[in-house]
């Protein structure tokens, strides 16, 4: 990856139909190797920002420069678990965009998909039913699909929700590895404590509240503005925004 900036947004705004802006004043950049946490309340515009980055929604204002292919890793609850597909079938879905419409995936696409499954540690589960895999494994299959798309920027939508601790650790390692390979990963999350271990945080509550490295950025004031005051302070909090969580979203055990 030679580009120094994979994605850059300046004063970005987006709206649905003729409605009010769903997001505005969004200015950030994603460089190779950066893991970016996207924080914000439900309805705060995280999904809207993802849709703009994926090209599904045109910016109403501002500029967006993309120097890499963007892929989404959606929540696995959105896909149907009773659907008759294997992990390999799902990974192969990543080849559609790269093939002319009259061509079906062949041997080389199959090899790419199997390599991607190997990269996420699921080569042995290639022929297993997608619905039979655990939540964490399903999430990794969707990451493999994004790898098949040769994504430089991966958008993960709350990948840790409903995933047990060992699976979450595996997923965490995978995200670190993707970043180390020169990709950038934006993770929409409610877990403020986890966000502190990433490279950058982007706080969004209909408009951008803050963007920067976690330590100086995640102050109590920023978190209050991000979650519109709906935050709770843990008794063990060490001040300066530490131990502060959005209400209703508790840290994993």
């Amino acid at each position: 990856m030679t580009a120094t900036v994979l994605a850059e947004a300046r004063d970005l705004a987006a709206r649905y139909g003729g409605g009010p802006p769903a997001i505005e004043d969004v200015t950030f950049s994603a460089r190779p190797g950066q893991r970016i946490a996207l924080l914000g309340p439900n309805g705060g515009g995280k999904t809207t920002l993802f849709r703009v980055l994926l090209g599904e929604l045109s910016p109403a204002r501002g500029e967006l420069d993309l120097a890499a292919r963007v892929s989404t890793v959606p929540q696995t609850e959105r896909s149907r678990l009773d659907y008759p597909v294997t992990a390999l079938d799902v990974a192969l879905m990543g080849t559609i965009a790269g093939l002319p419409w009259w061509r079906r995936p062949g041997r080389s696409e199959r090899r790419t998909a199997l390599e991607a499954l190997a990269a996420v540690g699921l080569r042995a589960q290639a022929d297993r039913s997608f619905g039979e895999l655990s939540g964490g494994q399903r999430q990794r299959v969707l990451v493999a699909r994004a790898l098949v798309q040769d994504a430089g920027l991966l958008l993960l939508d709350e990948p840790f929700s409903g995933v047990d601790r060992p699976s979450a650790d595996l997923l965490m390692d995978l995200i670190d590895r993707l970043a180390a390979e020169g990709r950038s990963v934006i993770v929409a999350t409610h877990d403020v404590e986890q966000a502190r271990s990433w490279d950058l945080v982007l706080c969004l509550n209909r408009r951008q509240v803050a963007f920067g490295p976690p330590e100086p950025t995640l102050t109590r004031s920023v978190l209050e503005r991000t979650y519109a005051g709906a935050i709770v302070e843990l008794p063990a909090g060490a001040g300066a925004g530490r131990g502060v969580l959005p209400a209703h979203h508790h840290a994993r055990p």
Binding site: L54, T72, P74, S79, T86, L92, I96, W102, E132, Q137
Partner: protein, 287 residues
């Protein structure tokens, strides 16, 4: 006790008996065409939850078929015209205040179907037109079969080309677009293929029973298969087998052809459903 040779001869005569007749042989070809198209396409109808849509489509294009038959125009043209009229009517009915989308479809479909039945069963209509309603699998001409073959090849080729996109949209419609599969295009293509498959099957099975071949074999295969491709193969095989069994039933029990085929397909589904419900679950709590 009869000699084994005599038993074999009796069985052979019973099996081969119906096919001595050119009419029944043509029915066999039609049943194979209907089974292949209905079985494969039916998998997408079942996976997309479009069973009600397929039935509505079949009934809505009925007056178009009847009008084409009365005017001597190609059925394809009539069916297409019927669909356009139905689509416009559904959109218009949906705009009437306090009528929801479902009600609009129900109102339009029953109106269209009623209109078609009125035309088809009118004493002044030629006798063949009534066959569009209940089907006449034993009354097909070579030209009917050729048209059916052409449409069947078209639908199967389109399904083969669109397979990956159909799979991606059915799996997760929201992220399909970012994978390069536009849900609106895929949905439209699927509806057009259902309409074409209805045209293939309507002459053999009739407008009332055409839905059986589009849904019953696929629903049966869904109970048994764990991947889409085997599900399609199984569904098509079941549809053709049920079609042939239906023809035998019709020949020996002297029952209506289309109804016998539909009956066997539904019985097959119920049998497999019962068998799979009784079987102890082998796969449990994995992953």
């Amino acid at each position: 006790m009869p000699a084994p040779d005599a038993v074999l001869a009796t069985v052979w005569n019973a099996l081969a008996g119906p096919w001595q007749d050119g009419t029944v042989l043509r029915a066999l070809v039609e049943v194979a065409l209907i089974g292949a198209v209905g079985g494969v396409l039916g998998c997408w109808i079942v996976l997309y939850g479009l069973s009600y849509g397929a039935e509505s489509l079949a009934h809505a294009l009925f007056p178009g078929l009847v009008a084409a038959a009365l005017l001597g125009a190609p059925l394809l043209l009539g069916g297409a015209a019927g669909l356009v009229v139905a689509a416009v009517a559904v959109a218009a009915a949906g705009r009437i205040p306090r009528i929801g989308g479902d009600t609009a479809i129900a109102v339009v479909v029953t109106t269209m179907f009623g209109l078609g039945v009125l035309l088809a069963l009118s004493p002044t209509s030629p006798p063949g037109v009534g066959g569009l309603l209940f089907g006449d699998v034993l009354g097909l001409s070579d030209a009917d079969l050729l048209l059916g073959l052409g449409l069947a090849v078209l639908v199967l080729a389109a399904l083969w080309l669109l397979h990956g996109r159909l799979l991606a949209v059915g799996f997760d419609r929201t992220s399909a677009r970012s994978l390069g599969a536009a849900p609106a295009v895929v949905d439209t293509a699927l509806l057009v293929m259902i309409a074409l498959a209805i045209l293939v099957a309507v002459q053999g099975l009739g407008n009332l029973l055409v839905v059986a071949v589009l849904i019953a074999p696929a629903a049966t295969a869904r109970l048994l298969a764990r991947r889409v491709a085997p599900m399609m193969g199984l569904s098509a095989a079941l549809a053709v087998a049920a079609g042939i069994a239906g023809l035998y039933l019709s020949y020996y029990a002297n029952t209506a052809g289309g109804a016998s085929i539909a009956g066997v397909m539904v019985a097959l589904y119920l049998g497999v459903l019962a068998a799979t419900s009784l079987r102890p679950r082998i796969v449990s709590g994995r992953g």
